[in-house]
Amino acid sequence: MLICAVVLELSSIKTPQHVKRTRDLVQAKVSGGCPHKLRGQYNEIMMFMAGERNPASCYLDERTFRLCCQLFLQHSETIQDGWSWEQIKGTDEGFMKKTVLMPVKPSFLHKQHECSMQDENMVTDDVQANVEDETAGVQAVCEIHAVLRYEYHVLYSCSYQIPVLYFRASTLDGRPLSLEEVWSNVHPNYRQRLQQGPWDTLTQQEHPLLGQPFFMLHPCRTEEFMKPALDLAQAENKRMNYVVTWLSVVGPVVRLDVPLSYSTEVSAPD
């Protein structure tokens, strides 16, 4: 039934807007708690739409990556989304970077690290008592959250010729989050999907430019979800900004929000 609904939507499309709209549609369904298989179904639909045309390359050369980033960063500047470019001294290499403060329920950290509770931003007993008096809905609003600091880096991988998302997370007092804590902060709908292969998931990695421990979303599946989007864009004779499309898909998995205006406002490089 769901598939019918999506296909009907797709049949009325003419512009690459539909790529975004379809994704939104699918994501809306997914966040409503539908099984993760939906992503596979989405891919099948996209492949069907792409038809017999020559497939667009899923790969990105480094120069195009940098150009895509430039355009991305211009828009980030416009909407004050907080991204910046970090250049490696003496080279033309670099990466995009953004730091985000993310509220989480105090119990999130409490569960994982008993001993570090004392210094966290925990509710006092008084406030807790007041909060408990409220109705459930209001309680959710009044609950004081602990805050995590997430730092996202978008790098170029010359081995896979695609962008790769690295990030690190810590509490406000600088304690790095463990892999388990990071996992528990992955959206539940994505967790099962990510657990499907030993090297095809979220792992700790050495940042190739900074040499420090980061987490990384393995790039192996990038082709899988980029291909349909690229083919579709090519079929419509439109060019898309690879970095925008890619980040819009992988970002939400690790709680990185990519506002929809990127998809509409950021152009592809010439």
């Binding site: 490696i88 010359c158 081995s159 896979y160 790095p176 463990s178 892999l179 030993p198 090297w199 792992t203 700790q204 990695q205 050495e206 190739p208 430019l209 900074l210 040499g211 420090q212 421990p213 393995h218 192996c220």
Partner: protein
């Protein structure tokens, strides 16, 4: 190929004698004796030091033992680098045995990756193999292999089984000459100076004019600063025949001599790591 097999075996069975000493910061119930071990160059520290852990835990209180980590002269050792690379990077100019300090406290979160089980090492190892194949064959060979084949690669390394490993690895080392060989050579240039841990770039084994390129060509093009002037003729004279597997390079290069600044560590034969200690001029 018979000659190559000897070289491959020599590379695989390369060992570094090491002496593990418990850090004086660790509290023990009895005095901790150092532990001696021959470390395989191609393997990983956390994979081959179970005995080291057991040895030191015997003299410590159970509750004091968190994740074991290693340090050499104040520098935490990155377990995810092959042992040979670590040695070449940090200690190649010092006398053997390699004196490594063992810690159980104060894990350096900002320097080292966690290694909580062998499956973490396996995932890292397979990730390296996969990346190397992405460069060599666009990932086609590794993706065509079955899960059990991947497992065999890992078990071969874990259990130090040369034949078991190479039965699978030879597929990854296939060099289709009619298709121009490897698409790119998988290599990394590790360095100890600066933030950047290694340099990795795309390099084709064949020039646009069709000449097979050598290690010297690679260094000249990508790391001219790493080559000392007087050493130039030797690397340039080296012919890298990819059919012999890059593992050959370890024996083919002259032994390091001052001010030589080049050592090699072929890792599992499917990629090559060049460790370049930067010397003051």
């Amino acid at each position: 190929m018979a000659d190559d097999k000897d070289v491959l075996r020599d590379v695989w069975f390369g060992r570094i004698p090491a002496c593990f000493t418990l850090s004086p910061e660790e509290t023990t119930e009895r005095e901790a004796e150092p532990y001696y071990l021959l470390l395989p160059r191609v393997s990983y520290l956390t994979l081959v030091t179970d005995k080291v852990k057991k040895h030191f835990l015997r003299v410590m209180k159970a509750e004091d033992s968190t994740e074991m980590w290693f340090e050499y002269e104040g520098t935490p050792l990155k377990w995810h680098y092959p042992i040979g690379v670590l040695f070449d990077l940090h200690a190649s100019n010092t006398a053997l045995p390699w004196n490594v300090t063992v810690h159980f406290k104060n894990f350096p979160e900002h320097d080292l990756l966690h290694c909580t089980s062998n499956s973490v090492i396996e995932a890292h190892f397979m990730s390296c193999i996969k990346e190397a194949d992405a460069l060599k064959h666009k990932g086609q060979v590794i993706n065509d292999m079955q899960k059990k084949d991947h497992k065999q690669l890992w078990m071969g390394l874990q259990n130090d089984k040369f034949d078991q490993f190479w039965a699978m690895n030879r597929k990854l080392m296939e060099y289709p000459t009619d298709e121009g060989g490897f698409r790119y050579i998988p290599f990394r240039m590790y360095q100890t100076m600066g933030e950047r841990p290694f340099i990795q770039k795309l390099f084709r084994p064949v020039s646009p004019e069709g000449h097979t390129l050598t290690l010297g060509d690679l260094l000249k093009e990508l790391f001219p600063a790493a080559i000392c002037a007087e050493e130039n003729p030797r690397p340039a004279a080296l012919h890298v025949n990819p059919r012999c597997e890059w593992g050959n390079l370890q024996l083919a290069l002259p032994p390091p001599s001052p001010p030589a600044c080049l050592t090699t560590q072929p890792v599992t034969g499917t990629e090559i790591s060049l460790s370049v200690p930067v010397l003051p001029w």
